[in-house]
């Protein structure tokens, strides 16, 4: 056995280890990347469908499944059935039908938009179920620890929330992570994002005293105890990201 205390051995060992581990990890990532990307795309489709009210119970007709998204295996099929090519890129008040909308990285667009003069490309999905349209907007923001994101579906009147879906990268389990639980996002259903003619968004409010969410026009939903920062993140996300679509929504309301 070689002398493992020699400097040359130590350096040699370190180099060999780094090369070996590096190539194993790179190889694993390279071989799994297409599969991982495919899973992420399916998840996005599941989430968009979920926000517009297409969930597992749509197929099973069992009310208890209403809090689960559709199965990943059916995501592609259902997405093309309910949304299909009704994907638009919004720039200001101009909407262009484009199959590139799905690929837009909301986070990267948000960063690009900080440069002066850049017109942000906003993806918008229009779903229709039985002739009723819903407008689904992706949101991206900050929670307590890491990124949070979501999809909000608006009714045809472009004022009332039809459904919402939120997810997070690393919020605290049991506290902030509860934004993806039914009791939280269910409260958004039926809430108005307008107060009169003015865009207000929806505030995740403490001391709202409305646990059953009976007041639909107060622009407020009940916050989660112990998750103030995550809740504020959701509020901010709706205030800023959803507001970007308002000029376009106003323009199609007039027409």
């Amino acid at each position: 056995m070689a002398n493992t205390d020699k400097n040359s051995y130590t350096i040699g060992f370190a180099i060999a280890m780094v090369v070996l581990v590096g190539s194993v990890l790179a190889g694993t990532f390279g071989s799994l990347k297409t599969k991982i990307d495919e899973n992420k795309k399916k998840e996005k489709k599941q989430n968009i469908l979920f926000a517009m009210g297409i969930n597992k119970s749509t197929l099973t007709k069992n009310a208890a499944d209403a809090t689960s998204p559709v199965d990943a295996a059916q995501a592609d099929e259902l997405f093309s059935k309910y949304i299909g090519d009704n994907q638009y890129i919004i720039e200001g008040t101009k909407a262009t039908k484009s199959d590139k909308a799905f690929g837009i990285d909301v986070k990267k667009e948000g960063q690009k938009a900080k440069e002066a003069g850049y017109v942000r490309k906003l993806p918008l999905y229009i779903g229709s179920v039985g002739g009723k349209k819903s407008y689904i907007v992706p949101l991206y923001g900050k929670g307590l620890w890491d990124a949070i994101w979501g999809y909000v579906a608006l009714d045809g009147d472009l004022k009332t929330v039809k459904g919402a879906f939120f997810d997070h990268k690393g919020e605290t389990p049991g506290l902030g992570a509860n934004i993806k639980e039914a009791f939280f996002y269910e409260d958004f259903k039926g809430e108005s994002i307008y107060s009169g003619a003015e865009y207000k968004g929806i505030t995740v409010a403490k001391g709202n005293n409305d646990p059953k969410n009976e007041r639909k026009n107060d622009n407020k939903v009940d916050a989660i105890a112990g998750a103030t920062i995550t809740g504020d993140g959701v509020t901010a996300m709706i205030k800023t990201d959803l507001k970007l679509y308002v000029p376009y929504f106003e323009s199609i309301k007039v027409n």
């Binding site: 493992t4 060992f13 370190a14 194993v24 991982i36 998840e43 690393g170």
Partner: protein, 226 residues
């Protein structure tokens, strides 16, 4: 910890000899990593607000600790002692990343549930502790058993703490409303019972762990230091 590591049996012994079984069962109670060695407290506080998260974390740590122990044990004679901590860190980080990627590709739903915990495994002091104290001085099979045993001891405490925090904090277990509905005022809530929101915060996990240590030491006086 160290005395266990030095007791390496030289003679051939059966796979599940008494000593080998001890490697698995000791960490469950009298040498528990959390309550006796006070390792892995950080994750025990952070993720035990829900029972499900506790169980998932326990299983994930068990896999990484058992695998890592075996890998380190196989390499124990060629690892330069000067950089052994770095080597241990690289092994556990590489294992965790491979597990994470594999889950993302083949069990995406499960990987979404694990989310933050996968990363947290790397920082778990029990893993580095067992590599250092056991795997570097023992053969692969013993190290494997030691890994399973210590992870089970860690998981046991996690599950106990998770059980009480979720039950008393949210009134649910694994998401099921076992005490009734707090908004509709059914079950216990109809009698005026309220959830203790304090149980959801990390300090109460520390107090719960403290109570477990107290119970354990009052039942087994030999654990009390003079």
């Amino acid at each position: 910890m160290a005395e266990v590591a030095e007791k390496e049996a030289k003679q051939k012994e059966p796979l599940f000899s008494k000593k080998n079984k001890g490697l698995m069962t000791d960490p469950l109670f009298d040498n528990n990593p959390i309550t006796i060695q006070v390792l892995g407290i950080c994750s025990a506080l952070a993720i035990t607000a829900q029972l499900k998260a506790s169980i998932v974390m326990a299983l994930a740590v068990m896999f990484v600790l058992a695998m890592g122990n075996v890998v380190i044990s196989l390499m124990r004679n060629i690892i330069p002692s000067k950089i052994r901590i770095i080597v241990q860190l690289v092994v556990v980080a590489a294992l965790v990343i491979v597990v994470d990627l594999t889950l993302k590709a083949f069990a995406y739903e499960l990987s979404k549930q694990l989310s933050v915990f996968v990363g947290l495994i790397i920082t778990n002091c029990i893993i580095m502790g067992r590599f250092e104290a056991f795997a570097l001085g023992n053969g692969p099979w013993k190290s494997f058993l030691d890994g399973i045993g210590n992870a089970a001891g860690y998981g046991l405490i996690l599950i106990i703490v998770g059980f009480f925090r979720e039950l008393l904090g949210s009134g649910t277990l694994l998401g099921f409303k076992v005490l009734g509905d707090p908004i509709e005022k059914t079950g216990l809530y109809a009698l005026g019972y309220e959830n203790n929101g304090f149980m959801l915060l990390a300090p109460m996990a520390l107090i719960t762990v403290g109570v477990i240590i107290w119970i354990q030491r009052s039942r087994n006086k030999s654990l009390i230091e003079s």
